[in-house]
């Protein structure tokens, strides 16, 4: 089963890629561990373009327009993420509506994902899905975040180039500065440039652009009209310029290494919590001892330190 799946992905067969994403998204699926093992056995890395910005700014429309400017021999994966409902767990995934003209293009694979309740604007299996496209030797992956505006910064960890898009009508330039989106933009896109207010917005953004101290890239600002395609070729040039900049400075894919480090850290924390910390915290013995903290027999910090010592002992004894 796993062999037919990975061979299918290698041959860029869409049913295999589609099925693999379903497997990677579902941790309870037995295949996910072995599939993950297979897809990380590759040296090829696909360049990732991230697109974020507030709802209605034109993220999906921009993707559609950008892709139409690209060579139709390029294999492109598009991942669009929309929010899931906190209560039902369901989601309405509507990003495809603006990409209808791409549905039958042979070189384009589009997948809609819900964030499955995770904050930060991405789905937690996104890293694996990007790796899947690398394994399949796709030329480009475009990731579109959910677009709620204030917690989208995770995109800057997975994408090599981040486009932050906004529209003048929303009057949200201050919102963007507040939300921390300025700091993550490699290219700042002002969409719907035909509307009044776009010059003012450009002026305000110029005042707030800062050179990234980590890599010396100064974010660019560009005005476009995604729906008519106006100046989208200019945006494409800027994107390639950023990609070249990263390549020349040996920084292409460097963000992903940091993210991998972070993901490993999170998985370790989860395992240690489940195997060592929670059994202690939830034991009757510990619950009974909490009253000693409330009545002042033992301090909060002492309790924490005692617990850490016990857990350290447990881990040592196991080896």
């Amino acid at each position: 089963m796993i062999d037919s799946l990975t061979n299918g992905v290698k041959n860029q067969e869409e049913y295999a890629i589609a099925k693999s994403i379903t497997v990677l998204e579902d941790e309870s699926n037995d295949l996910s561990v072995s599939l993950r093992k297979e897809i990380y056995k590759t040296n090829s890395q696909t360049y990732v373009l991230g697109i974020t910005g507030s709802p209605g700014a034109g993220k999906s429309t921009l993707i559609s327009s950008l892709v139409n400017h690209l060579d139709n021999q390029m294999k492109i994966g598009i991942i669009s993420i929309d929010p899931s409902n906190k209560y039902s767990g369901g989601a309405l995934l509507g990003d495809r509506i603006r990409m209808s003209n791409l549905f039958t293009k042979k070189n384009i694979f589009i997948r809609s994902m819900s964030n499955r309740g995770i904050f930060g604007g991405l789905n937690k299996s996104i890293f694996d899905v990007v790796q899947l496209f690398s394994f399949a030797k796709y030329d480009l992956v475009i990731v579109e975040t959910i677009g709620v505006g204030q917690n989208e910064i995770d995109i800057s960890e997975i994408a090599d180039t981040v486009l932050v898009i906004s529209a003048p009508e929303s009057g949200d330039s201050i919102q963007i500065i507040k939300a921390g989106l300025m700091e993550i933009a490699d290219i700042y896109v002002i969409n719907k440039a035909d509307l009044s207010g776009s010059d003012k917005m450009e002026f305000l953004l110029k005042d707030n652009i800062q050179t990234n101290t980590k890599n010396n890239w100064t974010p660019r600002i560009i005005k476009i009209q995604a729906n008519s395609g106006k100046n989208v070729d200019g945006l494409l040039e800027l994107t390639l310029e950023h990609k070249d900049f990263l390549t020349q400075n040996n920084q292409l894919f460097s963000r992903r290494k940091l993210l991998l480090q972070k993901n490993i850290r999170e998985s370790v924390i989860k395992k240690v919590t489940n195997n060592y910390i929670d059994p202690k915290i939830q034991s009757k013995e510990f619950k009974d001892s909490i009253k000693n903290v409330t009545c002042g027999k033992i301090s909060f910090d002492e309790t924490v330190n005692n617990l850490v010592h016990e857990i350290e002992k447990d881990i040592k004894n196991e080896n």
Binding site: I17, A18, K19, A91, F103, F109, R111, S112
Partner: protein, 132 residues
């Protein structure tokens, strides 16, 4: 937590009104499903390709224009070309009762006329979706 059921709500053909489709999409979302909605004027080719890439469990077709007898069998034909896939297909909209038998013969599992409740549709899906 089990994997959510993935549903594609699609409107084939030329009708321009999609309030019904949107209400169904929202209702199924509230029933805990991941619902992909692609908007109006979808060709059978677009619907089948989307179904393949999104690895859906259920396809819901909404049609008001009267072209169902042509479009539905064509969509079923293209869907069946998708490898390794069992999709539950349901339909709704303005479809005369006399057309039901032929459409069911073509592979539409159930047809929900105007007045059907969301609960009815959601429970039909939950009871009939192919376990993968």
């Amino acid at each position: 937590m089990s994997k959510p059921i993935r549903v594609l709500i699609a409107k084939p053909g030329l009708d321009g009104h999609d309030r019904g489709a949107k209400i169904i999409a929202r209702g199924l979302k509230d029933a805990g499903m991941e619902v992909i909605y692609t908007g109006i004027k979808q060709t059978p080719e677009k619907i089948a390709r989307t179904a393949l890439q999104e690895d859906i469990d259920v396809l819901g077709l909404s049609i008001l224009s009267g072209a169902h007898n042509y479009l539905f069998p064509e969509i079923m034909r293209l869907l069946n070309e998708n490898k390794d896939k069992e999709v539950l297909v349901i339909a709704g909209g303005i479809i005369p009762l006399s057309d039901y038998p032929a459409l069911k013969e073509a592979g539409i599992s159930e047809i929900f006329p105007p007045g059907s409740s969301i609960e009815e549709i959601a429970s039909f899906i939950k009871n009939n979706v192919h376990s993968k």
